[in-house]
């Protein structure tokens, strides 16, 4: 039915299965969402469904003029995301999307922005082991060590792993198992971890 949905990460917890096994789950507030545009091969060159994430606190004044025009007659939404779709014939603008298209055992990909770590050193960012802690070492504890040779090649090789900005980038967690999908409460429980901080925006797409 729907290829995906937009959600917000709530947090992680632990559940007991009927078999007695525990499973670590991430709770996602998935939807409600509304179809804001249906793109077709004829008109747009590809088939896709654009979906908006309905929150209760989006005021008219928070939208730009183009957004207002785009969402005319629909709820105010802050976030729009697009999903490629095989079949767009059954979907039209204004349709509500909930997690009803997912069930226990389905596989999904979850896309989010990882937690930002700022400008991170080489030990945190690339798991370098740092320098010795003792034997007269000063200021070498978390240093990267040598970054190259001498006159030949006379430069630092491209792609050399160094300190720099870490996190806050788009990450996809693939093939996560749906443990529970509750369309009434817009609640989705997914096995395992999902990128980003609690409250972060997530894009959930069904694995085809």
């Amino acid at each position: 039915m729907f290829p995906g949905i937009i959600g917000k990460k709530i947090g992680m917890t632990q559940l007991f299965q009927e078999s007695g096994e525990t499973v670590a789950v991430t709770a996602i507030q998935a939807g409600p969402s509304v179809v804001t545009q249906v793109k077709s091969r004829d008109r747009d060159g590809y088939d896709a469904i654009q979906v908006g994430f309905i929150e209760n606190k989006v005021k008219q004044s928070q939208l730009s003029s183009p957004e207002k025009g785009h969402l005319r007659g629909l709820e105010n939404v802050r976030y729009l995301r697009e999903f490629r779709a095989d079949d767009i014939s059954s979907v039209k603008r204004g349709d509500k999307v909930d997690v009803g298209f997912l069930k226990h055992g389905d596989l999904i990909n979850v896309i989010g922005f990882s937690k930002g770590r700022g400008f991170a050193g080489v030990v945190k960012r690339h798991h370098f082991s740092g320098g010795p802690k003792t034997h007269g070492q000063t200021d070498r504890h978390r240093a990267p060590g040598s970054i190259g040779a001498t006159t030949f090649p006379g430069r630092v090789l491209k792609g050399k792993r160094m300190a720099g900005h870490m996190g806050n980038r788009r990450v996809t967690a693939r093939n996560l198992e749906v443990i529970q999908a509750d369309p009434e409460r817009n609640l989705l429980l997914v096995k395992g971890a999902v990128p980003g901080a609690d409250g972060g925006l997530l894009v959930i797409e069904k694995v085809r």
């Binding site: 947090g11 917890t13 632990q14 559940l15 007991f16 007695g20 507030q29 609640l187 409250g199």
Partner: protein, 134 residues
Amino acid sequence: MDVREFVKPKMNPNIPQISPGDTVKVSLKAMEGDKERLQHFQGVVIKMRKGVDGGSFMVRRVSYGIGVERTFPFQSPSVQNVVVLRHGQVRRAKLYYMRRLSVKQARLKERREKALEQAMPQEEEPRKEEQSSE
């Protein structure tokens, strides 16, 4: 946002109110082949933890001279029954120091608790009245 607002932990109703220092007997469902039977684990509660998963408690016992600690989640459906055999008088929430103590030292501590316990008001009402009338 708290996950607990969305996913409430299903606390096992078989687990009563317990506290660190209590001596408890935990009865567990255990599978033996395809037969189900009850397994018991008796010891002192040395740790309790709260959390989004409903928390857990750790029971320590010394079995054939070897310390054994088992952690039971409060959500665990395999816990069939928990009986509080004795309330211990303890002064901290985590009783990790029990690990350093020999069985004898640990036992001494418990005997002292027993004496203190009688001087302390209990949750059983009749006993309290007896003491005040004396």
